[in-house]
Symmetry: C2
Subunit: 262 residues, 2 copies
DNA sequence: TGACAATTCATACGTTCGTTTTAAACATAT
DNA sequence: ATATGTTTAAAACGAACGTATGAATTGTCA
C-alpha cells in the first residue's frame, strides 16, 4: 500500500533472542513461559490442527498472556516451527545414533533390513512411550502433519528430514543391492504412510473401521503396536517385486531387468 | 444469546432442494453452477485443505457469485460433505460391486487375499485414472482427509465408510481363518495408511524423501503405482505374525496360539 | 406477454483472527 | 539503586472469515 517495498520497521530483531542480548536475566522464568506455550500448542495442534487452533486458545490453555507468543516466538508460524523443531531434533538425532551404532558393528557391510526399519520406525514408536521427549502427543501430531496440505509446514518438515532420509535410503540400497532403487524408495514411502496412519489412526479413524477389537487390544499399548507394525513393514519391504507393465518410451535407466528378491 | 433455544428462523428449508418445490425451472443452469462449485471446492480442498480454503476462494475459482454456495448448499460445512458424498457414493458402490461379483464366483467360499485387497485399494487407484468420477484430484483429497483432525469430517467419513469397511473386514476374516481378527484389523489399518500416503505423498512429501527417482518414474503414472502398491500390501498382509509379549491380564480371547500363516 | 419462482448479484453484517501497542508491575544481575 | 529483561493487563488494529439480505436478472409456463 505504501511507497516502496523497503519498509521502515525494525521487525523481528527482538523476538528471537531477546533474552541473550546482555546477560541471562530471568532465564528460568522466560523458559518456563516458553515451555508452557510450546506444550499447550503441541497438544492443541495435535487435537484440532494448525488452522483451527487460535492464539487465544493456546495462551488460554497455557495460562499466559496473549501477547506472550508474539513476544517469545514472533509469530504463530514461528511457534509451530519451534514446536516441531525441539522434538524432531531429538528424534532424528536418536535415529542417526542407532543407525551409526549398527553400521559400526558391521564394519562397512550391509545391514539387515529389519535393523534399518527398526532404527527408523521403531525409534519413532519408542519415542511415543517416552514422556520426557513429548510422548505420544508429539508423535501423533507428527504423523498427522506428514499429510498436511500447508505449504510452509511441508517445506519445513522436508528440510528437517532431509539428511536422515538420505542416510536411511542409502542404508536400504546397500542392504538390498538386487532391488531397484526406485522400488526401494516407493516402499519406503509405503512404510512411512503405514506408520503415520497407525499412530494417528488409532484415534482419528476409529469410526472408519469400527475396530470391534477386544478391549484389551484397544487401549493405549504402543508396545503392542510396534511388533505388529514391524511385521507388516518387513513383509511389505521384502515382498516379491511387482510385474511392471512394459515401458513405451523407455530411454532412461535400464528399467527392464528387475531381478526378484527371492 | 437470545431468550429460548427455539429460534424463529425458517433456516435450511430452501437450500437443499430449492429447485424441486414447484417444477424444474432453470434446472440446467442451477446444476451447472452447483457442479462448478463442487469441482472448484474439490480442487482447492485438495490443494490447501479445508480450513485454509475460503468461500471467496472457491467462488472465485468457480466463477460464480459468493452467495451461490450458501444458496445451493446452505453452508461451507454442507458443501464439503457434498464434495465427498458425490464421489464416495460411486467409489464405495464400485467396491461393493467388485466384491459381490467375486463372492458370487466362489459360492460362499473364501476369497484370495489378493482379490480382496484389489477390490478395496485397486478400485481406489483405478478411480484416480477415471476423470469422469473425479480422477486423481478427489482420490488425493480423500487420502489427505483420512488423517484430518476436524471432528465433523471424521464422523462424516466414518459414517460413509462404515458398511464397506465391515464387508471387507469380514471377507478378510473368511479368507484368513487362522489369523486372529485383531491382527487382520491392524493390518487393514496399515494398508489404509500406506495407500492414502502413497496417493497424497507423491506430491506433498516429495521433499521429505527427495525422491531422486528417474524422471520416468516421477511423472503421474498411477498405473505403475498400482502393481507396486499391491505387492507391498500383500507382502505386509501375509507377513509372519509378530511375537507379541505375554499379556498379564489376559482373560479374553485365546491370544496365545497365533498360528503362522506360512 | 405477463406473472412468478428460481437464480444471480453487489453489498453489508457481525465475528474472529493474528498482531501490535501502551502502560504498569515484577524479577534478577551488576 | 539502577538497568535489563520478562510478564501481565486491556485495548485496539486491519484483515479475512462465513453468512445474510434485498434488489436485479433470468428462464419457464400460464
Amino acid at each position: 500500500m505504501s511507497d516502496i517495498g523497503v519498509s521502515e520497521t525494525n521487525f523481528e530483531v527482538k523476538s528471537n533472542d531477546a533474552k541473550s542480548v546482555d546477560g541471562k536475566a530471568n532465564e528460568s522464568r522466560a523458559n518456563e513461559t516458553r515451555e508452557k506455550i510450546l506444550n499447550a500448542a503441541e497438544r492443541l495442534f495435535m487435537e484440532f490442527g494448525y488452522d483451527a487452533t487460535s492464539m487465544r486458545h493456546i495462551t488460554s490453555e497455557a495460562e499466559v498472556n496473549l501477547a506472550a507468543v508474539n513476544y517469545h516466538f514472533g509469530s504463530k508460524e514461528a511457534l509451530i516451527q519451534e514446536v516441531f523443531r525441539r522434538r524432531l531434533d531429538w528424534l532424528n538425532d536418536e535415529r542417526l545414533r542407532v543407525l551409526d551404532e549398527m553400521e559400526a558393528e558391521v564394519n562397512g557391510g550391509p545391514l539387515k533390513p529389519s535393523q534399518i526399519v527398526d532404527a527408523m520406525f521403531g525409534t519413532l514408536l519408542r519415542m511415543a512411550n517416552d514422556e520426557s521427549v513429548g510422548g505420544s502427543t508429539f508423535v501423533r501430531l507428527l504423523g498427522r502433519t506428514l499429510t498436511d496440505p500447508s505449504k510452509f509446514i511441508n517445506t519445513f518438515l522436508a528440510r528437517e528430514h532431509a539428511y536422515v532420509m538420505d542416510r536411511f535410503k542409502n542404508a536400504l540400497f546397500k542392504a538390498l543391492p538386487d532391488v531397484p532403487k526406485s522400488e526401494i524408495i516407493w516402499r519406503f514411502h509405503f512404510m512411512l504412510g503405514a506408520t503415520s496412519y497407525a499412530i494417528t489412526g488409532a484415534d482419528a479413524l476409529t469410526g472408519v473401521t469400527d475396530w470391534q477389537l477386544s478391549p484389551s487390544d484397544k487401549d493405549e499399548r504402543p508396545d503392542l503396536l510396534l511388533p505388529r507394525l514391524m511385521s507388516f513393514l518387513l513383509g511389505g519391504l521384502r515382498a516379491p517385486l511387482p510385474q511392471l507393465p512394459i515401458f513405451p518410451q523407455s530411454g532412461n535407466a535400464s528399467q527392464g531387468a528387475h531381478d526378484s528378491i527371492y
